[in-house]
């Protein structure tokens, strides 16, 4: 009970303190500490839910079950490690004169606010509040994307704001339609938007309305997942914002948006009784994989390269949830976890690599391993993990998704394999050249924050080799709920 409130209250309090107090030398440490406390509260919440089962609180406004509690833990964890990384990264940026104390204050305040909106979106029972939190997440991050005030940064932030704003407006329309259908069953007022109540009566909801609603919801939240053809904001926002923001956008925002899609899909599936929603998701997922594969090879900027890789992986996860069934949903959840951990680890390594060489252009980053073996290996191992090489966790989830696709939808397998193959060829060759070869890198004034990189990679390795029984049970529970 208190844990769930703490999970929300801590980042909100952190945002207020860090945002209103003005920049202090200890702000970065305070940011990490608040994130650590949030993570501990999330762990306590997880322990509570695992032992006591799902819970609702605050007159059913909040709701924690097996599906969202694992995302809460993941979000709080990545939020914590990214805060650790940003402590060093932002200090280097400040000493190089790229950021003023006022901007750092904005960064810390908004960072905590972003974590708050993500956690609120996850544990909100009211799907209207879920929408409000998703929109607030855009608002919290948009000024961070333009933090450097470069022309490209301002442009990326504007694009992010407008595209995600328009996208999320579609999702609101979808939510209104869903409410229209729910109101007829549950009556007007409070309970008609509560997911727990909707889930109980999903079979009675009007199928026509829910079908149309899901199209709007998928397009709306799908914009934030980065699904093609509405993915345009994603590479720009990832490339132009500060690297900690790229890490949390890829590692958290995309996941939470996909969570919103899946939550709504459960209701729509129940009402329609057909596989239409799943088919739509499979279509968007495959399209994203194809589009990402096309654009990957053209990228000259290292952060854009990995941003397109995020589009590809979110496409794969969306495809998995679209297929549905216990195995595919299990694999989808595993893929979300593994991608989130790996991609943020990669962005940490990329951030330091870009600081060492003073550029994000792939061709100008060479021989990282000579100057800083740890950053070089971090980037290399991260890339190997994201490309789905065994024994990392991404391999396990992709293997499950591919075998399920082979069984249920054989026509889709070649497309997925082609996308994965192109990604492998492009990313591996680029990263290899960056890590080895003649060096252009310079040592940093502060030792790079490598603990987050390797702890993430170790976890992904663990997920690939051995999923602890309680974690597996938990995934299975969540997968059963998604259906």
């Amino acid at each position: 009970m208190t844990e769930a409130l703490l999970v929300l209250a801590l980042p909100l309090a952190g945002a207020l303190i860090l945002g209103l107090w003005g920049h202090r030398p200890w702000a970065a440490e305070a940011n990490s500490s608040v994130s650590l406390l949030t993570f501990l509260a999330a762990l306590a919440l997880t322990a509570h839910v695992v032992s006591m089962g799902p819970l609702t609180l605050l007159s059913e406004l909040l709701f924690v079950d097996a599906f969202n509690v694992f995302l809460v833990t993941l979000t709080a964890f990545v939020g914590f490690t990214t805060a650790l990384f940003s402590r060093v990264y932002m200090r280097v940026e400040q000493e190089r004169g790229k950021l003023s104390p006022a901007r750092l204050r904005l960064f810390h305040g908004m960072y905590q606010l972003f974590l708050f909106t993500m956690l609120l979106a996850l544990i909100a029972n009211n799907i209207g509040i879920l929408w409000v939190a998703m929109e607030a997440a855009t608002l919290a991050t948009v000024l961070l994307v333009s933090l450097y005030r470069t022309p490209a940064g301002v442009e990326a932030a504007w694009k992010y704001f407008i595209l995600c704003g328009v996208g999320i407006a579609q999702a609101l329309f979808g939510t209104i339609l869903l409410y229209l259908a729910a109101e007829r069953v549950l009556g007007a007022g409070g309970t008609a938007l509560l997911w727990t109540h909707l889930n109980e009566v999903k079979g009675e909801l009007e199928p026509t309305v829910l079908g149309i609603a899901f199209v709007f919801l998928l397009v709306g939240y799908g914009t934030k997942v980065g699904l093609a053809p509405l993915h345009n904001w994603l590479p720009d926002a990832h490339a132009e914002g500060p690297t900690p923001i790229s890490a949390v956008l890829s590692g958290l925002l995309l996941n939470v948006a996909l969570y919103a899609v899946v939550r709504n899909k459960v209701l729509v599936d129940g009402a329609l009784g057909t596989h239409a929603a799943g088919n739509l998701m499979m279509g968007f997922g495959l399209l994203s994989v194809i589009v990402a594969a096309f654009f990957l090879s053209r990228q000259k900027d290292i952060k854009r390269l990995f941003a397109y890789s995020s589009i590809e992986h979110m496409g794969i996860a969306t495809f998995a949830f679209g297929m549905g069934g216990p195995v595919a949903s299990f694999a989808g959840l595993l893929h979300m976890t593994a991608h989130s951990l790996t991609k943020s680890a990669i962005f940490f390594a990329v951030g330091h690599a870009a600081q060492k060489t003073g550029t994000q252009v792939i061709e100008d980053i060479r021989g990282l391993i000579h100057v800083s073996p740890a950053v070089g290996w971090g980037l290399m191992l991260g890339s190997i993990a994201i490309l789905g090489i065994p024994p990392f966790g991404v391999f396990a989830s992709e293997f499950l998704i591919l075998t399920t696709a082979m069984r249920d939808h054989p026509w889709a397998t070649p497309i997925l394999l082609l996308g994965l193959g192109v990604a492998f060829a492009v990313i591996f060759s680029r990263v290899q050249a960056m890590v080895f070869g003649e060096t252009t890198a310079q040592p940093l004034p502060h030792p790079p924050a490598l603990f987050p990189v390797f702890i993430h990679l170790a976890l992904v390795l663990l997920l690939g080799l051995y999923i602890p029984p309680y974690l597996a049970a938990w995934y299975r529970q969540a997968a059963a709920m998604i259906g």
Binding site: N126, G128, L139, V166, F173, I176, T208
Partner: protein, 221 residues
Amino acid sequence: MNAHTVTQLINLLAALMLLIAFAMLSQRRILRLIHLFAAQGAVLTLNTLLVAIALGQSHLYFSVALNLVLKVLLLPWILHRLIDRLNLRWDVETLFNVPTIMLVGIVLVIVSFNLALPISQLAGTITGGTLGIAMASVLISFLMMITRRKAVAQVIGFLAMENGLFFAATSATYGMPMVVELGIALDVLVGTFIFGIFFFQIRETFDSLDIHHLERLKERE
């Protein structure tokens, strides 16, 4: 008032809503665009008030107040302040192909009516028939955002789209639950502030508020 009169009045307001959406689509002056936006907010408030009176739904009075404060007074006031500070008060935008844009708008209206037909039959509210118009104003605002080159006009399009969504919520369901409505209002307000900050950032960086400066980030061959 009997139910028939109320329905007639609601349909009238819905028609006004659509008319304003079309007027915004073709309006070149920023200042008049803001006036139109405020008028749209007023129509929206009146419509909500009418539904609230006709049905005695007490929670709707709350959203009437929220609409009046936010969309008729506060947001237009913020926009006025912004264009004063940015010296855009008399700005005139060149629009190309106004007839074509209007025709596309008409197509959008037809599409929305077709799409909304099965839903409004289900809605069964006295306002159900206006759902098509609500959907049309959302899509027309979307069209306006696509066709405009000035940042301020795009933002007004964005806010008009939110008006359309709110109109949809009142016509389909007599309004969303209070907590959601408050949350949406908060997001819109904060969003407008951030847009305001953005205008200054864009102008500082590009010396202009023309969006065509913001087209450099593209996929290079």
